[in-house]
Symmetry: C2
Subunit: 386 residues, 2 copies
């Protein structure tokens, strides 16, 4: 297995863009990425597209060649990967595997989703198709209600409080206000966060991530060739994907995600690192409770301690373990299929010291955790200096 | 890159199965495959699922962990790949790349589609989402009408006749009658084939493949470990995927598919073989004209000669280059996401000399060509004896 580097990154702003279609967003991100690495489209040897539900959101299937042709990339493998909200994390993982295994030298990964053209009720329905449709979804669950059950159980089992959830929202909104590409650049107070309109008790509006349009792209190459393209390569220290059951009722304990633990264990082993070595992270805060549980499943804190740890400000920009300096899904936005690659872009920008107002003091080793559904897919990646 | 072997294969019957759901079909094929290779589910290191439109056909997204959990495969990467009708050919390609590159030793690929629960008009609409929806599809095209335009142009340019198309249908129906797992086991005459109900002139009912339910699975391992699992390993001599524009109007010439030519060129180079060395093939006859063009794009015959070559019986079971001994998509059936892996299964059974009534006299080196949409994705694989 060869060491792999991120040699280029590009992303669109996240937001609601009624005048932009899916392909134009993907092509904008991909084009910026090619430019960042000074790579011509015809040099790209394989193309991976992470997209969750383009067919349902915009009526277009077969999206990988549709997007790659728009970028001028033809004649090479162009493959769409769908893994719910972890679609582009998974696309990144498989692109990494292709370069690490020596199948390709130069691979592009784009993640994209165009969600805001559908009314909210339809968006909720499309997102729910990532759950167990013959079971929990048929019975009336949606993702907010599934994560509400998870939050309620976490509260019961570990004494997590609504204030802990709200603290995650406050922190991610504060971070997002510093991100020029974020969907929502608005700091909020703890009181505001606690007073949000109820969505699925105990989760309110401020506990839920945003419905967004957007795209992100990275280019990968073997470390040994990285200098041909960039003087700021970022090394992929590890990439790992794992799976689990879709339905909550198939899990032994709904306050922990075995797929996250499995992917994290493999990633730490591959990188030769432990949780304590991770300097900063982009975690999958589709709901505030998901960030709290991620802190625990990744070993940043012991089981049940994620809420208190967040409340104490230890995941803030100035804390010991900054989480979601980009604003996270909560404030940066969550165009589902773009999220995994956007996390990789945000890690890479920090490591390259190009994160602008978001730049963290310690930024040498970062981790991204991208979750699909209520935990049936997870991709954990660790990036660092070459 | 390590040599890779197919160490197990399994498939369901293809047909219309109102009492079976998508997962039960996929689990049946995967279970048979595990049994064929005497592999326990927990030994599988990665799982790839080829599926085109489960979300639209049966309302379920996030299908890879959904199916893998049903097979008892958890904690490893489980990834759905969507590439229109080439979804599971692409899944096979990426599984091959993972083993060839040394990322995994033991990988399962399942292809599945459950189509017959939707009315025909809705099936046509779902299939059309693999075309360029903002262009040709919005303007009223469906896949039968796109391939009708291709056929009409091929006739104009090369003198191909309706009889040539019908000869492909007659041959594939005759072959399918020998396949115990085929959707339609019914031989037809040339007169019947020519008198089929019009679909999109010049294509009639007998020029079009079937709408089917079904699944197929294979297990891959490095050749050096194949003997642990089977005494009849089949070697993957080559696997290659290529892409092109979605829309016909973006192509310079609609009577040839550049993605097929690119994938074939790469596959021949990888295998160190030429078209003449291929003893038999499973080709993507979504429409009869597609088989004719595939013969040309794969270099089996010169441009424009595919129709006459078929009419002369040279692709029949007893011909010099048997094509679609399984019955092909035309008669075996075309559960879209299952087709690519089903082709691999059929090649492997021939090479293992286990094809029963379908067994061909020469069966050492076989090629599979799996086409997505009107040629925007193509996967070409070549299998042979270890």
């Amino acid at each position: 297995m060869r060491p792999v580097a991120v040699i280029g990154a590009g992303k669109t702003r996240f937001g609601a863009f009624p005048d932009r279609d899916l392909r134009s967003l993907a092509v904008e991100a991909g084009g910026k990425c090619l430019k960042d690495a000074r790579v011509r489209p015809d040099a790209v040897e394989a193309f991976f597209l992470g997209n969750f539900a383009g067919p349902a959101f915009v009526g277009q299937n077969h999206l990988a060649p549709y997007v790659s042709a728009g970028l001028g990339i033809s004649g090479v493998p162009a493959t769409r990967i769908e893994a719910a909200c972890a679609s582009s994390g998974s696309a990144f993982y498989h692109a990494w595997a292709g370069v690490a295994g020596g199948v390709y030298d130069l691979v592009m990964v784009v993640g994209v989703e165009k969600m805001t053209s559908q009314p909210t009720a339809r968006v909720t329905e499309i997102l729910a198709s990532a759950g167990d449709c013959a079971g929990e979804i048929k019975a009336g669950s949606t993702f907010p209600s599934l994560f509400a059950m998870i939050a309620r159980r976490h509260m019961h089992q570990f004494g997590t409080r609504k204030e802990h959830l709200a603290a995650v929202a406050v922190k991610n909104h504060a971070n997002g206000a510093l991100n020029p590409d974020a969907h929502m650049r608005k700091a909020i107070t703890l009181e505001q966060a606690l007073a949000g309109k109820p969505v699925a008790d105990p989760l309110n509006l401020y506990d839920c991530s945003l419905v967004s349009d957007g795209a992100a792209a990275v280019l990968l190459a073997p470390v040994e060739r990285a200098a041909e393209f960039t003087d700021k390569p970022v090394r992929v220290l590890a990439a790992a994907q794992a799976s689990d059951h879709l339905a909550l009722d198939q899990k032994e304990d709904i306050t922990t995600f075995p797929a996250v633990r499995a992917a994290a264990a493999r990633a730490y082993r591959m990188a030769g690192l432990e949780a304590k070595d991770i300097e900063f992270a982009e975690l999958h805060d589709c709901f505030t409770i998901a960030e709290i549980i991620a802190l625990e499943d990744l070993g940043f804190v012991p089981r049940g301690e994620g809420g208190r740890y967040s409340m104490e400000g230890r995941t803030a920009r100035e804390g010991e373990k900054p989480v979601n300096a980009s604003g996270g899904l909560k404030s940066k936005g969550h165009p589902v299929g773009a999220t995994g690659v956007a996390q990789i872009c945000d890690l890479a920008l920090q490591i390259r010291c190009e994160a602008g107002p978001m730049q963290l003091a310690r930024h040498s080793i970062g981790l991204a955790e991208n979750l699909g559904g209520s935990g049936a897919t997870c991709v954990v990646s660790i990036l660092g200096r070459v």
